[in-house]
Assembly symmetry: C2
Homo-oligomer: 408 residues x 2
């Protein structure tokens, strides 16, 4: 363990680090090819990175007919932590520098208990995982929480159903406690980052991630970057009004999208269908277990229960109608569906696709894949570590998008 300043000094070092993160150990020659720099320059920067303890030697590669390359890789002890706080659960992972998960843990929480309680639980989980993986120090922590987040300030802003979280300095608390850089974002955004990094949207710079969970939200990628909007509330589509009348939403309004279809709405409708005897399958399950969740509904659909299937189709149609409008507006290259309700599988996906393709312009949908999340529950933590590693593996964190774009 070096005690050197573990800091990226320039743009070239940042590029090299991200190459090593994304492509694994590479030789100096391969790195020279990948970045447009001379071998001398690459060698110099690698020496500096090695001295800074960010990079290390990785032995010899097999010869390709000449002198064998000596491989270079990210420092073996580099560790990132990701924290994905949901409404009722928390997911924590520790990865190495290449963002391979070394250990992961899930726990039940109630986000309404406030930031102190939740952060205490999260910290404990991180500490446990550190012990488990023999992690001495963390290079960075990424975290996501439900509801609108001020990314630049690192805290939640007026979260609807999360008392005590408003302006609570989550990012700075994490940064202090673990003595490393930290970033906080909306949970849907980090899931979108996850799918972009290692999931269905790999290489698709402009896409929408739609989370159908307890609530409904979207993560928006524009040219490889999260679009957060001016107040950090972009993607907040759960409370779009889809009807004048309809069920009352948790937010107090009437006709919100997530009052028609979401984890909460589906549970409500499922229990009703069971109690009213419209779905024998769900009635049996309810009697058996005393409650119903998304998996019960999915099972009922698989078993061919017509009422349940109709329920899913109607919900999918509501979501699809909103997405169709957003597709016309935004013209994304892909839509990724995630969150708990993605367990509803093919029935839901078919309805979504049908509605979106039927209601949007042909030009905007002719190349528009609508697919399920590839990462499932891990999308959030993976996105969180990707987000913080992008940050750590960048030159001057102060020099951000806005400034760089101006140059072009």
């Amino acid at each position: 363990m070096t005690t050197a300043v573990r800091k990226v000094q320039n743009r070239n070092q940042a590029r090299l680090l991200r190459l090593l993160r994304d492509r694994g150990p590479l030789s100096r020659a391969e790195l020279t090819d990948a970045v447009t720099l001379s071998k001398s320059k690459v060698a110099v920067e690698l020496d500096r990175l090695t001295a800074a303890g960010l990079v290390q030697d990785a032995g010899q590669a097999a010869s390709r007919g000449g002198r064998p390359s000596s491989l270079v890789r990210l420092w073996d002890g580099l560790r990132f932590a990701g924290i994905d706080v949901g409404a009722t659960s928390i997911n924590v992972a520790i990865t190495d520098g290449g963002l391979t998960t070394l250990a992961q843990r899930q726990g039940d929480i109630d986000v309404s208990q406030g930031p102190e309680v939740v952060l205490r639980a999260a910290s404990q989980m991180v500490r446990d995982l550190r012990a488990e993986t023999g992690t001495e120090s963390l290079a960075g922590i990424g975290a996501g929480v439900p509801g609108p987040v001020s990314f630049s300030e690192g805290f939640s802003v007026v979260p609807p159903i999360m008392p005590g979280w408003d302006k609570y300095p989550v990012r700075d608390r994490l940064s202090e406690e673990f003595d490393c850089p930290a970033l906080l974002d909306n949970d849907v955004n980090i899931m979108a980052v996850g799918e972009f990094h290692a999931g269905a949207a790999r290489g698709i710079g402009t896409f929408m991630f739609v989370k159908l969970g307890t609530g409904v939200g979207a993560g928006i990628f524009v040219d490889g970057h999260v679009h957060r909007g001016v107040d950090g509330s972009a993607g907040d589509i759960g409370h779009i009004q889809v009807h004048d009348q309809g069920p009352v939403c948790a937010c107090g309004n009437i006709g919100c999208l997530e009052a028609f279809f979401s984890g909460a709405a589906l549970r409500r409708d499922a229990v009703l269908a069971a109690q009213e005897g419209r779905s024998p399958f769900l009635a049996a399950r309810l009697a058996e277990r005393g409650a119903l969740d998304v998996l019960d509904v999915a099972d009922a659909a698989t078993a061919g229960d017509p009422v349940v299937i109709a329920m899913i189709r109607e919900g999918g149609r509501h979501i699809g109608e909103v997405l169709a409008k957003l597709v016309s507006f935004f013209n994304p290259g892909m839509i990724v569906i995630g969150g708990g309700l993605s367990n509803l599988g093919g029935t839901l996906l078919a309805e979504l696709r049908g509605t979106i393709y039927r209601r949007s312009l042909p030009l905007a949908t002719r190349n528009l894949p609508v697919v399920m999340s590839e990462l499932g529950d891990s999308a959030g933590v993976l996105g969180a570590v990707r987000m913080i590693s992008d940050h750590v593996f960048s030159h001057d964190p102060a020099l951000r998008m806005a400034d760089v774009r101006e140059l072009a």
Copy 2:
């Protein structure tokens, strides 16, 4: 007139040129302060720009208590042309390097006559304006046409009601004819650029421009850049379905937003109200002139005609309901309303604001101005020249956003 290579050689020259464009003549000292470069470097680059014929001396400034500055400005003979093709009209302007309009001309066309006819008319107008302003050569041409455009390829793609335009190489034709760089974009996008450059959205990097004209469309700005979407169809909100039933749209579908409210829809409804005797004001106008347009409707509203006012309010509500959904999704910093229907004035704006504020989340609307276009008919041509001047005043046009962003 120099015959030197009039070409920007590096990023610093690009920055200097844009400074001179946006802030007018400046002294070397002021330029040094504005860019973060040493005075020596600024002097060297200015010399090169002068040699390239892009920049020239502009005499002495008044002394501020010491040696007076010698001012530098863009070459006096720099000229940009902007072409804004609408469904029924065409607008052309020639500006100097600082994007001040030197001459402007408007003409009536029918875009359905095809690109050959329209481009011939446009070229003639540009030639007329060149003669009028004594312009020897153009430094660049920006143009906008209705419907989806492939920006990178420089032509329209599957435009709904524009036979013959599909894949017709508009950009390259202009570039060849006038022997200068040219860019082609969607007409709504260039209007948005215009409002960003010199209109209501000055300094607001993330906003929506909504054109309510013959059709309905939106221009989307994200962090100071136009968002065109993966197929160039972003902002195509006119055919969003707002109802299961309703008037048949020109696109063949039912319930499209612009079938409910647009220039075409309003004319239709106005004539109907006149013929059915519901609006005495419009009936009189129709009898008097044989036809009705937006200005007649505006006059009727000003005169207090209750049926017309209700008509505008209902239309505004339809637009507002769609915008409210998009605001929740996109979280812009401003909405600018333009196009012919903005002549409807306060009645329309009030209804839009009311609907948007009522139906979107408080967080996304608490800082959301909804304002009328400041540039009116000139937004398009001004945006077009701004677009092409950004292009000409940039280093390597090949090195574009995607690449630059990757560095950060």
